[in-house]
Point group: C2
Chain length 721, copies 2
Amino acid sequence: MCLEGNCRKFFDPHSLALVGVSRKPGSLGHKFLQAVRQFGYRGRVYPVHPTVPEMEGLRCYPSLEALPEVPDLAVIMVKKEQVARMLEACGKKGIHHVIIITAGFRETGDEGREREMELLKIAYRYGLRFLGPNCMGLFNTGSQIRLNASFSPTQPLPGTVAFLSQSGALAVAILEMARTLRLGFSKFVSLGNKADLTEVDFLPFLLEDPETRVVMLYQEGIERPGTFREWLYRLSCRKPVLALLAGRSQSAARAAVSHTGALTGSTEAVEALFRQCGVVSLERVQDFVETALAFSLARLPGGPRVAVITNAGGPGILTVEALERAGLQVVPFQEKTRRRLRQLLPEEAAVENPVDMIASATEITYRETLHTVLIDEQIDAVVVVIVRPPVDTTPARIAREFQTVLPSETDKPIFVVLMAHWDETAGIEAFHRLNIPVFAYPDSAARALAAMWTYARWKQQPPGKRLSYPVDQEQAARLLAGAKTSARFLSEYVAWQILQAYGFPLPAFAMVQHLEDALETFRDWNKPIVLKLLSPQIVHKSDAGVVWGNLDSEDAIRAAWERLQQVIAAHPEEWAVEGVLVQEWIPGQREWIAGVHKDARLGHVLMFGLGGVLVEVWKDVSFRVVPLSDRDAREMLREIRASKLLDGTRHLAPVKENDLVDMLLRLSQLVSDFPEISSLDLNPIMATDDGQRLAVVDVRIEIYSPEESRSNQEKGRKKKA
Amino acid sequence: MCLEGNCRKFFDPHSLALVGVSRKPGSLGHKFLQAVRQFGYRGRVYPVHPTVPEMEGLRCYPSLEALPEVPDLAVIMVKKEQVARMLEACGKKGIHHVIIITAGFRETGDEGREREMELLKIAYRYGLRFLGPNCMGLFNTGSQIRLNASFSPTQPLPGTVAFLSQSGALAVAILEMARTLRLGFSKFVSLGNKADLTEVDFLPFLLEDPETRVVMLYQEGIERPGTFREWLYRLSCRKPVLALLAGRSQSAARAAVSHTGALTGSTEAVEALFRQCGVVSLERVQDFVETALAFSLARLPGGPRVAVITNAGGPGILTVEALERAGLQVVPFQEKTRRRLRQLLPEEAAVENPVDMIASATEITYRETLHTVLIDEQIDAVVVVIVRPPVDTTPARIAREFQTVLPSETDKPIFVVLMAHWDETAGIEAFHRLNIPVFAYPDSAARALAAMWTYARWKQQPPGKRLSYPVDQEQAARLLAGAKTSARFLSEYVAWQILQAYGFPLPAFAMVQHLEDALETFRDWNKPIVLKLLSPQIVHKSDAGVVWGNLDSEDAIRAAWERLQQVIAAHPEEWAVEGVLVQEWIPGQREWIAGVHKDARLGHVLMFGLGGVLVEVWKDVSFRVVPLSDRDAREMLREIRASKLLDGTRHLAPVKENDLVDMLLRLSQLVSDFPEISSLDLNPIMATDDGQRLAVVDVRIEIYSPEESRSNQEKGRKKKA
């Protein structure tokens, strides 16, 4: 059953059964009923209680069966042992939409997990859908029906933000913070354990909901990643999606599991997925709510160039620093702007960017200065800093003046940093009515604006294409099929052939069994070579001392061959020698790594990063979930901190970026074609110092199927025995 | 004249003259008088106004001369053109302490600079000291005399924080923010242009001031760096000093100059100075005020291990992440703690760290849980997360319960993250009275606590020692004296000899003129060598193609020599060839750089960082102002991001860290002994892969004196002509 058409029944029910209400003040069942009534619900409410005939002036019913109609929505908040029975009663009554508030399910361990499975069985049997368990409910401020079916202690402000939260309590916290910031919501859903309904069920509805301009997601885990990805992407193309992802650190991930029993994907993978879908991902609660405020009010900036106007030098300087720290630019004005400001402002004022109007600035000075910098074509956004001035003006009066120059003249976003006591006199609502978000600190405004620019740029750029290269898939399939019967790690020789079939840029390579063949190959290529001993038992060749590089003479090759034989002789039983790989030596000072691993939740995840001797020190890597678009690949190259290396340095020529993009896309195509590849490493990928050539220098492919894993384990056991 | 004894007169004047008061509402002169009176000043006030006989019920005087006594303090806020005359009048009257509020001096350009010089001359003539100009005044909440001699529109809360601010407006902003946070101040000084008095004049007073526990500094520039450093260090040893430094970015630095006409030292140098003095340096305004709140209330943590207790899972997870992001640790509890929590809390609760007491937690649950984790010996600090709960408890009630378990039992700091609407019901004052700072967001608490731990650790560690190595200073002096007559960059050969005199670890080196000598040296050493052509005209040898490395055979040396001759032949006129440096080849994959440059404000600044081909990409460096202590040197090695490289990797052995420390200290000693060294680069310093040897591989020393610079310029000009 698809929920899409039925979200309406959750958000706009004409009738509502409340199972588990209570007369006891302070109890959950009591608070819930109060919340429904205080928010002014206009539908019909049916409290269900086995013994109480009346509650808060409403008639109570002893059971769901006794209700005079089939309600659109039922809320269950009875004890955990009774939930299944009540859900069954909902099914029997013909109720199709249920919210289960009660906790004590999957999040508490095996017994709870079974209780939760029981709920799912009942739901399938009756064709009903439910939210929760272990959730806080939902509300809909935009609805005519005025539904607050949650035990949130905070009265939500109406607004344009829809908020789906896995944690009920975090949602409470955010609704409270939102009140301080004056951030308003259109819809709110506490998802709880997501036993049945998940965020994926609500995204299509929010995509179309005219009352929702911005979507906030608080995630502790990802369900149905394929569908999630698809809808996230579609939604982001239309409306900004902001995500706060918990479970980044080890201890936090442990806590997240015990909290809602969520199975988290690796943070890198989820972050990558978000990036690919244009989701604005945030780490900190404060950024989450402040960025939502910015998106819910202001227009998207057309570029990163910001003007700062201030009535105070120091705060202006700190705002410039905050903007630059966030990756935005504070650029010089056009000459005409400077000239106008010079005419407008007193002699002591600074007419460069930041404009310091000095402490004598009145609301008129603010208005005229804003007007002047808004029409500067070099400027994409304006941050207005207001420090409580010694002269007789107030933020509210400044807002009133701003109204006279807005919004006909500009589509540039304007932010206010109000460095003043955050009380009623601050005139925050007056700015918000002009779609100007107000922040207490320079960094808050800067980070929110930077997030908007990141999203705007994502939307501006052409969507990524999933390219399909002409490759010899059949050849690769044959090679893989042949290899699968043997070991978990493919022979490097087979791996090279698979890469060749997929058109990767490779060094020349050949497999030989005799020294003479190696020498012959060297003479033939007339280039320095590498010798590698191949054996299924050797996974880390360098550590095993079976790689000899940069051999540039027959003598050197003979010496290396001799030493290889010595190493083999020292391991007579363990190693089955496959042969010796002769490989062209690629010299260069720049190395990258690329690899794929399989994430438990999200499938193949592709990694690209800086290689070399410092690889473990820097951990300078970027991730994307397979399949990649060309845009993904391009972004990965630029996301790593050492991306400047691509452009070359004083002694190194630039690299052909397209060749690297091409390589990442072929890698994505290869693992998409062969899901049995459980991991793949290209380490390193070298660039020659002249930038002319790029090649994979080492490869490792791991294949994995449950049967093999088992048989491998058995082999291992036999060996030990 | 030393201010130390006289700060009292600025903060506790028994009589106060106000020159430039006004009856006009909203004017600065009017506001100022109002502020003095509203704060309840208990001394004698003398408004000075040429025509008005009475103001706000106070008798006015037509001139300073007419005053019935010599006031302890005078405040001047007349027009900029009249300031000098009024200051002169102060001098004549015998007033020794003056605050000049008026703007329009150094910050406005040359003319203003002259006006400011005039003020200084008057002050010297009369032996008076003044604050400003272009400042906001000062206040003293702790004083019996109740002085608010500032035009701050905010009534300051009394507290234990002293705040010296270069920017008046930023101070206003911070006083306003402080009101929202309920942060109180003992003293406040707006320093303005610092024409006469600077922060250095106030630090000794604050060191002894019993009402001040924490010092906040907002700096846009540094004056008298030597004395500043000394007092900062002394102060930090006793009380935490928090600094917010503006002018980090290029555009911000430009704005800072135009703002108070400050001459900023380079940010790196000032940051280094702060670190050496134990100053807690902050980048963002929000961190600045929040960290001050933490220091002003809580005890210093004894370690980085934090317990989190929460009534809500999601916010608990986010708090753990925030703590880990800030560099703190959320560690497992002792077994006895877990056992007690298990008894105490409901089945659904999580008794690991973070402790999730779940939503049913009451104030009693909070109290008992806090009590239990506080006595866990593994725990150094506790963060209590409070989300507005569904049950009937309030933050104020939780605070009341906390009081019963505090403070007799613990000296561990406790922080509250109150994720609730920030209003009067939040009970913030109740927690503050228990010395528990309250924050709105997890990251705010985490960063403030991390700053406290950083400071605590700095205090715990033994102070650094300035070692003096036995070196051949005379030899170095002779070499430098000989070299100074010639070029700006020393010959590398001379530079090597100077390093040798100072005991640096060096490769073997020798100067030769003939191929035969080079070959002889090679045979003698029996190691691969490097050949470098030395000429005063070649500064970047690698770029000029006159360095040939890793020469491991006589053939290779002959070939390199031949090519050197060719390069020389190609530049017959420009290059005066000094000879060829033969140097032992040091092989290794790890490179560092160390260097010294002269900062315009702070003198010699020493830099240490990662070297190698990616040096420009990573910019992974650390700075200290000379002279260095052994502790400084040790910290530098660990401050760079790639510090793990010192510990070795899979293929590289650890480096002898003491040898590197030694090298940095010798470098500090060398430039301290010879101020004429304007820059010095050791680039690279190599470590062999076995970690056994560390050596400087290339050196460049620049000496600089004004005369030479001029004569060099002349030479340059002649050449062109």
